[in-house]
């Protein structure tokens, strides 16, 4: 694999091996999470763990487009919703196992992402973001409108029929294991992209699209590949959500707030790095769940006040996000430990 020549080879061929450090870190994370999944008996903590793993995965999936390719999508809720609705409707109406429905949902989201991504990648910066918002709104409104199929604003409840084949478990720890597997998958995809030609192309596009084009990189094509992968993985997260929460409805599932949340976790952790979204989700999710559980209806929205503030402060003071800033600090403290250059936002006037 490493023998790929520079001039030839598909975009998926490895440019270099995935650094062992990252694989060790992933293995360590998986072991810790698995041990926690089976030792923690408290329902609430287990729930927080599951949500952390789920959000880390979906935010990592978002990061492929939003971070690696630098295209700030605020429409990923649409892919999430398509995944959730497809597998759930197939399960309820046709009795198809959500495991299989999950793949169909992913394929459908991929198809839709291609249809919207292909024309809209011509747009840059805020214009791209606006189109993604409008797209997710259209999907949400159509879901509300197609009541016969989607049950409209009432939403859909997933019947509790525990069976491995139904993707419904009695034990929370089983959900934690599935979420962990999902996280391992998305992080591996992220690491692989980052160290493949595709990752290098995307980084070039992110830093300066015109320069990348001038060097012969087909920006539209690679951005499209990035969104296809990202949409597929995001839709998988949608299925998991539906199977775990047992209820989906258009306002929440397709909401702009959810898209923003995914982006926010990645930005706080470190946009365009593999570990950024994971760190962001691990920091933000417990805060969200704890504040929601503690304050409940009383001070509804307080956790979002904290989010908004953290987001502004991070953007202004640590525009690279927490992970790259820590990595840089670690490098200064401990010498030559390798740290990949992070997504540096274009500075200077």
């Amino acid at each position: 694999m490493s023998a790929t020549t520079r001039s030839e080879g598909s975009m998926f061929s490895a440019y270099r091996f995935i650094p062992h450090g990252s694989l060790h870190a992933l293995a360590g994370l998986a072991v810790v999470a698995a041990v926690l999944a089976f030792t923690v008996k408290d329902k609430f903590f287990l729930h927080v763990l599951i949500m952390m793993l789920l959000y880390a995965s979906i935010s990592s999936a978002w990061n492929i487009v939003g971070g690696f390719a630098g295209q700030l999508s605020l429409g990923h809720a649409a892919f999430f919703g398509i995944g959730a609705y497809t597998s759930t409707l197939l399960f309820i109406d046709l009795g198809i196992s959500p495991w299989f429905g999950m793949v169909i949902g992913g394929a459908l989201a991929t198809l839709v992402s291609g249809a919207i991504g292909y024309p809209s990648f011509r747009l840059r910066g805020p214009f791209f973001t606006l189109v993604t918002i409008a797209f997710a709104e259209v999907v949400r409104l159509l879901t509300l409108y197609a009541q016969g199929l989607t049950r409209g604003s009432i939403g859909i409840s997933v019947p509790f029929r525990p069976a491995v084949g139904n993707f419904i478990f009695r034990q929370h720890s089983a959900y934690a294991c599935v979420a962990l597997a999902f996280l391992v998958l998305t992080v591996l995809v992220g690491l692989w992209i980052q160290n493949s030609r595709l990752g290098y192309y995307l980084a070039a596009i992110r830093e300066d699209e015109d320069a990348a084009q001038a060097l012969g990189i087909d920006a539209a094509r690679y951005k499209l590949v990035a969104v296809l992968i990202s949409a597929f993985l995001t839709a998988l997260g949608g299925t998991f959500y539906a199977q775990y929460i047992f209820y989906i409805e258009p306002f929440q599932t397709f909401s702009l707030d959810f898209s923003v949340l995914l982006a926010m976790m990645a930005i706080i952790g470190g946009l365009g790095t593999v570990w950024g979204p994971v760190a962001g989700a691990f920091l933000v999710t417990p805060l969200q769940e704890a504040l929601q559980a503690k304050l409940g209806g009383e001070l509804q929205g307080l956790h979002l006040v904290v989010y908004g503030t953290v987001l502004i402060v991070v953007v202004i003071l640590l525009p690279q996000g927490i992970v790259p800033s820590l990595a840089a600090w670690g490098k200064r403290m401990f010498g030559q430990r390798e740290a990949r250059p992070a997504a540096s936002p274009k500075g200077g006037a």
Binding site: L72, Y307, I312
Partner: protein, 294 residues
Amino acid sequence: MVAILAQVAVSGILLGGVYALISIGLTLIFGVLRVINFAHGEFLMIAMYASFWLFSLYGLDPYGSIVLVVALLFVVGLIIQFLVIRPILNASASMQIAATVGLSILLQNLALVTMTANYRSVDTPLSKAVVSAGPLLLGVSRLVAFLVALAITGLLFLFLQRTYIGKAIRCTAQDRTAALLMGINIDRVYLVTFAIGSALVGVAGALLTPLYPVFPTVGTYFVLVAFVVVVLGGLGNLTGALLGGFIIGLVEAFSGFYVPELKEAVYFVVFIVVLLIRPTGLFGVVGAEEVGLK
């Protein structure tokens, strides 16, 4: 049937006036600072709450308190520009969006925590009054909002054409560096522009209070429409925002008449089509969509 369609068209144009009023501030800020303020809707929400509380605590009619609300929003604009926008002016587009989205989340939920999610509305004698012009019925509040939108756009135009600071603003919008070289204090231009943009949405908020209830997420609905309007008119183009407002108002009125369940979907589809076919908007300058992203 003709009378009904004429009524729908008139309602659409009046609604368009409201949308235009919200959009002008957004487009002004983008044209000069090259930042899309995702918290624009929350500024509208603040203005509507201010108008509401002035009415319910001190009995001030929303039309009477308009000066106070505009002054408040001007100050809010100054503060936000200084604290949040100024530090990110040279950041990447992603970071600018992230910061203003963060601001939007913060303000929205601050309102939720302090004001609760209740819908609050102002009931003035004028808020439900209707005048008839021939066979057509016109809501007085909507008519006022429409006329003020026209007047404000005219005044803003005069301000930008005739005053020194207005000329400085236009100069900065054309070319930051050249403006700097001509001795224009860019920092101050940005500060004033952002404050004026906020004050304009203050006008919109005060005029909307008799028409719509206020609640913490009221801005989200209007800001999405405002994005559609400003992109349609060409970001940074003031007359474009006015015309875009009318177009979206008409689109919404007619799609509301023919396909009520899908009226929002219709204008989002119009929006996507316009962005994909002519991202500079109907009245924008070619290339405008790529300016200011660095």
